[in-house]
Subunit: 457 residues, 2 copies
Amino acid sequence: MVEQNNNKEVMYNEDDLRQLLIDENIDSFREIFLELHPYDQAQFYEKVGPDIRKTIYQFLSPQEMALIFEAIELEDEEYEKFLYEMDTAYGAEMLSYMYTDDVVDVLNELDEEHRESYLEMMDSETVEEINELLAYEEYTAGAIMTTEYVSILENSTVRSAMTVLRNEAPNAETIYYVFVVDDNHRLTGVISLRDLIVSDEDTLIHDIMNERVVSVKVTDDQEEVAQIMKDYNFLAIPVVGQNREMHGIITVDDIIDVIDEEASDDYSKLAGVSDIDDIDAGPFKAAKKRLPWLIMLLFLGMLTASLMAQFEATLDKVAMLALFIPLISGTSGNSGTQALAVAVRGIATGEIDEKSKAKMILREIMTGLITGIVCGIFVIGIIFFWKHTLIVGLLVGAAICCSILVATIAGSFIPLLIHKLGVDPAVASGPFITTLNDVTSILIYLGLATTFLGQLS
Amino acid sequence: MVEQNNNKEVMYNEDDLRQLLIDENIDSFREIFLELHPYDQAQFYEKVGPDIRKTIYQFLSPQEMALIFEAIELEDEEYEKFLYEMDTAYGAEMLSYMYTDDVVDVLNELDEEHRESYLEMMDSETVEEINELLAYEEYTAGAIMTTEYVSILENSTVRSAMTVLRNEAPNAETIYYVFVVDDNHRLTGVISLRDLIVSDEDTLIHDIMNERVVSVKVTDDQEEVAQIMKDYNFLAIPVVGQNREMHGIITVDDIIDVIDEEASDDYSKLAGVSDIDDIDAGPFKAAKKRLPWLIMLLFLGMLTASLMAQFEATLDKVAMLALFIPLISGTSGNSGTQALAVAVRGIATGEIDEKSKAKMILREIMTGLITGIVCGIFVIGIIFFWKHTLIVGLLVGAAICCSILVATIAGSFIPLLIHKLGVDPAVASGPFITTLNDVTSILIYLGLATTFLGQLS
């Protein structure tokens, strides 16, 4: 996509850059390469082979390399591969120049032994910060925050705040917010750079800071943090501990990744793939990701078949009944997935909470009734005009109506139940609930048919 | 969720605020209310009834109200409702204080006549800007950009840039980037506030600006813009015309909305709901959104039934065959949805382009073969141990293997085809492709069964 953008034609020529590396033309390479945005640097770095990357390590300092590693977007296991290409000392130095949240992402992918060997080579203050972050549970605010932020004391002046900012600018992840703390490093306020630059230099921070600072706890779920930042349009949010002591900040770029990740996650679970596989993955890797679902569902499908076997006698007598099995199970699956999707997204975005739960279930029961009756009537009509039989039509119509009602209630109730148990409701995903609805809808259909068998023959 | 956050307990008491309005205690109300973040103000504003909102309009100036209206998150049609509660002159003045991108969002929801009446009351310069934005097609960069940004000429100094920033700070949507333009207002560079505050005041902007500025065109798709901002971690991106003349900027908060919207959109299409209905919608509204899909799929299901009718004789002879119909159509539907989800997300994120298309199809064919063979073998084994028949097992296994292969190819090929035709590939959504795969898989199954019928009885 990037290549299609005409505004970027000035950017760089990949082949030229590669040639400069092959020719070991260090000066020209650095001149062109270091002008690039870190994202473009990372794209180039990922694309060239390991031999050429070796030359890049020679030509760039660990500090310059750190910017690339922060901008890189890799499958988790690839970080390891790239890191092990480097000399360990070089790698450790590079890591020490990265923002702590990014270092933690990388170190989380390494085995214990390698992680330790890198940490041993880094200075003790950084190691302490990193170890603190490594200790937080995955998907919490603590795990995605960074410790590089700018803080000042309440009784500073705007002038001294600006001096602090100028000094911290090269290191802090954002300098657009300055966090105000007391002597115990407890968060008491926030002030934006926007406010600072329009204020008189002698003003006390205490007089212009915003005391109603919104913060999150280190243990808060990342999805909750994302929701707050989205609602308030923040560029960064402070992360505090039990006594409001500042631990770090989370910046908007990390939140975009969270939003993207969670949405993809819900989406791929609805589709029954453990995650949306990247396009470069080979067929074996793709098959490996998809097979667990397919095989699990095969077994559930066998369950459906064995339940149907109980009605084999009925099917044997009226073969026409079999014609409508896909229709009934399909319709019930579709309405269940619709209800499920609404419930899963509602829970994920926080729109459905304790209070609105009962209301939602009630709404879904009504919706299931309405859609069930409408679809049932349609089916009776169609079958009557097609097969000229009212009794089969009534049977199929009644089965469809009941199945839609049951599927709609299940689709909204099951995610709520799973959420209550503290599990991500998206695991009650599409294929799973579809198979469940298959079973119930066929039971309803063939159960009704067996009961009224006398009328059918 | 917000209520659960202990850090926010200091925020405000809704009932107290409401009481202040009922008591017409303007001073206390303003003192507390104006301290709140606009998002909290908007939440309160939305919750109270129209009578109390009338008092809010009396107590707040149009400028103060503009902040609330920008922060509000409404269903499209609700903007209209709130706006019409206000006096027209008050509403028009409020609109003129809002950022142009937000005004355009509101005006887009009004009918021609009302829109004109508001525009007539606003000053001509603002109206011109708004009309320019209203003319851009929906979902393009032009339609979501704002025209409130800070720009300076190349030959300015850092000092004069800072002066411009201080003056523009109250109006510009972001002051963290300053865009550098030439005499014809063509974009030539960008400089961040971060760079400005660490530079010497007499430095020329031209010497420190970044000339490799990444920009988008007014006609670019909003999804492309989101991808670029996400990749580069920008807080804002400039939007230019044909000759690189600056038209506006898009800020990160708007991009978060785009990412959210597009992901929800793909998700709801996979689930077969036109959009994820909001929790407050009644059952009739919800049913209305879901029924079109269900009924369309009912007709397709009838098509499946009428195709199966061709094989009624076969089903009549071997009733056992009917037992495996849900299994086969379910498995084929599942594998088709998996392939579809990967393709739709790949196209949406730009990972799949012209070059990687052929590679992806090839990968999917291989993946379909592998998953098909593995599932087929499983099924043969299960049926052999359950029913002690090899021939039915072979038949069902072969049908499953073929159906998975066909479904996987269809799941990846159809979205590519639809995308090629210039339509959003997500319309080839889950239920649709599932039904298609139902038909083909049952045809394969019953076709094979009829061919080998001699062996079956």
